[in-house]
């Protein structure tokens, strides 16, 4: 029978099917961080059980870490305690731990691929919804709750009903100034924040075939923002070239064997999806959000739509615009910006900083804007320095912070103050996400760069050479 890429990877990992219930799914790789794992370890302790395969779990601290002065003790006692718990639990159960100050420390969804933990055909979970990022490699990757973290630690399995299958095709060529982030925000604006709930997505078509691994990770990362459990892209030469030679990827004969298997990981020509969408990539423009969920996005040159044109309740829509202090019919161009954040598991990779630098080169940071540039990992940080990007940033008046999730969820001190507007390359514009009362506009690194040098929402295409 014909199978989709998703079917192939899923079915290979089903230990047992339960009649009238979920599948027992074997998990190849498990990533943990300080925030969603402590209670899972407490569960193991209270049940008196061990970690079944400690070598399949990797720990990094990222959600709740400072992004300056990482060499100093963490000031917030609750945060320090959480970091200590991750370290102690990892040591006690024999799990690799990449804590604060470790060379491999960084955002879990950035370092996983960088060290080759993420591989085609694997099942990967983490107590974080943006685990969907790893689907860029043709893996089935999705976020889980803490109870499930405990399941994976204790049995390397979780229990999941098999999702339905959706394919999203984006054809044609992207225009200048349009990035993978814009493609994702465009799709979410079409499907809404719940339009893919219950589905697992495969992204296909020319736009994704031509996309770099960094770009594919950005797109798959945002799958959860339309409700999908995850999204994936069939592995190809771009994928294999990225994966080869990394610390945890197979070597020698094992590599050849892996390659032979990975090349089979594509959707069969006559395989059927439960639902399919096709969009013209050339029609996508740089995107920006105006509301309080990622589905509330528009092309940057557009005006905020009327409530009656938008799916969902009018009351909810008005609450959302009220929170942002925006109005129906407003132009997004020219909106005031107080903060710019470039980073996160969505856009904290080297390409994102290259894009930001390409626009700010030779310009100056706008005086009214506070800008936080936060690399996703130490590897990204090193690349920024080695490629001369830091010099461009410094010349333009920007500074670089240290790796972590930072203002994406504002668990640490990187909080946007109440009432202030931020253009953010992160993934969520929920009320208070970047700090109580903070107002977030999600956009690409290029739109963030344009805001950083002009102090307002600006179409990056007007500034690109």
């Amino acid at each position: 029978m014909s199978k989709t890429l998703f079917d192939k990877v899923w079915d290979t990992h089903v230990v047992r099917k339960i009649e009238g219930g979920p599948d027992v799914l074997f998990i190849d790789r498990h990533l943990i961080h300080e925030v969603t794992s402590p209670v899972a370890f407490l569960g193991l302790k209270s049940r008196g059980i061990k970690v079944l395969y400690p070598e399949r779990t990797f720990a990094t601290a990222d959600h709740n870490t400072p992004t300056i002065n990482q060499h100093l003790p963490v000031a917030d006692p609750l945060s320090a305690n959480q970091l200590k718990a991750l370290e102690q639990n990892s040591r006690e159960y024999g799990i690799s731990h990449w804590g604060l100050g470790h060379q491999k420390n960084g955002i879990v969804h950035v370092v996983g691929p960088e060290y080759g933990i993420t591989q085609p055909g694997a099942t990967i979970v983490c107590g974080d919804s943006h685990t969907s990022t790893h689907g860029a490699f043709g893996a089935i990757a999705f976020g889980i709750g803490t109870s499930e973290v405990e399941m994976v630690l204790s049995t390397q399995c979780i229990m999941q009903p098999k999702p339905k299958k959706m394919r999203i095709n984006v054809t044609g060529q992207l225009s200048k100034g349009v990035t993978p982030k814009d493609v994702a925000l465009f799709i979410i604006s079409k499907l809404t924040t719940s339009g893919a709930t219950g589905y697992f997505v495969e992204y296909a078509g020319e736009v994704f075939e031509k996309m770099s691994m960094e770009g594919r990770m950005t797109v798959c990362n945002l799958s959860i923002e339309m409700g999908a459990r995850g999204g994936m892209i069939a592995p190809d030469e771009t994928t294999f070239n990225y994966v080869q030679g990394r610390e945890f990827t197979p070597k020698g004969e094992a590599w050849d064997k892996a390659m032979a298997y990975w090349k089979t990981l594509k959707t069969d020509a006559d395989a059927v999806f439960d639902i399919e969408y096709t969009y013209d990539g050339s029609a996508i423009e740089p995107m920006i959000t105006y509301g309080t969920n990622p589905g509330m996005g528009i092309g940057i040159s557009n005006h905020i739509p009327d409530a009656k044109e938008v799916e969902g309740g009018v009351a909810t829509y008005e609450k959302s615009l009220g929170y942002m202090d925006f109005h129906q019919g407003d132009s997004m161009i020219g909106k005031k910006v107080d903060y710019v954040f470039v980073g996160s598991c969505t856009n904290g990779r080297i390409e994102d900083f290259r894009a930001f630098a390409s626009l700010v080169k030779g310009k100056k940071k706008a005086e009214n804007v506070t800008v936080w540039l936060v690399p996703g990992s130490h590897i990204v940080e090193s690349q920024i320095k080695e490629e001369g990007i830091l010099d461009i940033l410094t010349e333009a008046g920007f500074t670089l912070r240290q790796p972590g999730c930072s203002a994406c969820l504002a668990m640490n001190d990187d909080k946007v103050p109440a009432g202030k507007y931020a253009v953010s390359t992160s993934n969520r514009n929920f009320e208070g996400r970047q700090g109580p009362g903070a107002r977030t506009m999600l956009a690409s690194p290029l739109v963030a760069a344009a805001a950083a040098v002009t102090g307002k929402v600006t179409d990056p295409r007007t500034l690109l050479a």
Partner: protein, 198 residues
């Protein structure tokens, strides 16, 4: 983690007719710093419930003594966003045992089922009827019958069926979680692991 068994719940309900209620509203990230499962109920809907100076916001439903009960009524796409199980813990620890909506986000729904909160998905029309009835009379009781998989508006007897897998239903009725199940098939899992393609 063990939770109280769920069979039939008869209770008044607390209405929150907002769509796309995300987990950052249910429990903001800055309250995720605990290393134990304590105190999350106090911070349920923290920023909708309290002013920045920690005084209660009078217009938020959890601060309105008119509405009480063990059932939370939410708008479409309840629980979107982050995978934080803390959101489900906050709902449970506050005292809710069921959330009724016309649509749930996936991970939140899963998390609820794993910790003993029953997500009850009804049609948009029936949800509206429930909201209307509760607003008309806050003492209106709902009966959620898990064995029968029905939810009934007590005054009128109008009811609707809801879906739940027989496996999860059995778990909820007995207070079991998936770890109990998985522990019992560990040998099968270890055998399976020796046959993976890579």
């Amino acid at each position: 983690m063990a939770y109280d068994k769920f069979t039939i719940l008869t209770s008044t309900a607390v209405p929150l007719p907002i769509e796309n209620v995300d987990t950052d509203q249910i429990i903001p990230a800055r309250f995720l710093k605990a290393t134990e499962r304590v105190g999350f109920g106090d911070n349920l809907f923290r920023d909708w419930r309290y002013n920045p100076d920690n005084t209660p916001k009078a217009d938020f439903v959890l601060n309105d003594p008119t509405y009480t009960g063990k059932i939370l009524l939410g708008g479409k796409n309840f629980g979107s966003g982050s995978s934080r199980e803390h959101a489900a813990w906050a709902v449970y620890d506050y005292g809710f045992r069921a959330v009724v909506s016309s649509f749930f986000a996936d991970i939140f729904k899963n998390n609820c089922l794993n910790i003993g909160v029953l997500p009850v998905q009804v049609s948009p029309e029936f949800l509206q009827k429930i909201f209307d009835a509760v607003y008309a009379d806050p003492k209106t009781e709902l009966e959620i019958d898990l064995p029968a998989q029905t939810i009934t508006l007590s005054p009128t007897g109008e009811k609707e069926s809801f879906d739940i897998s027989s496996y999860k239903k059995d778990n909820m009725q007995n207070g079991f979680d998936d770890i109990d199940y998985l522990q019992n098939i560990k040998t099968e899992i270890q055998e399976f692991a020796t046959h993976l393609p890579l």
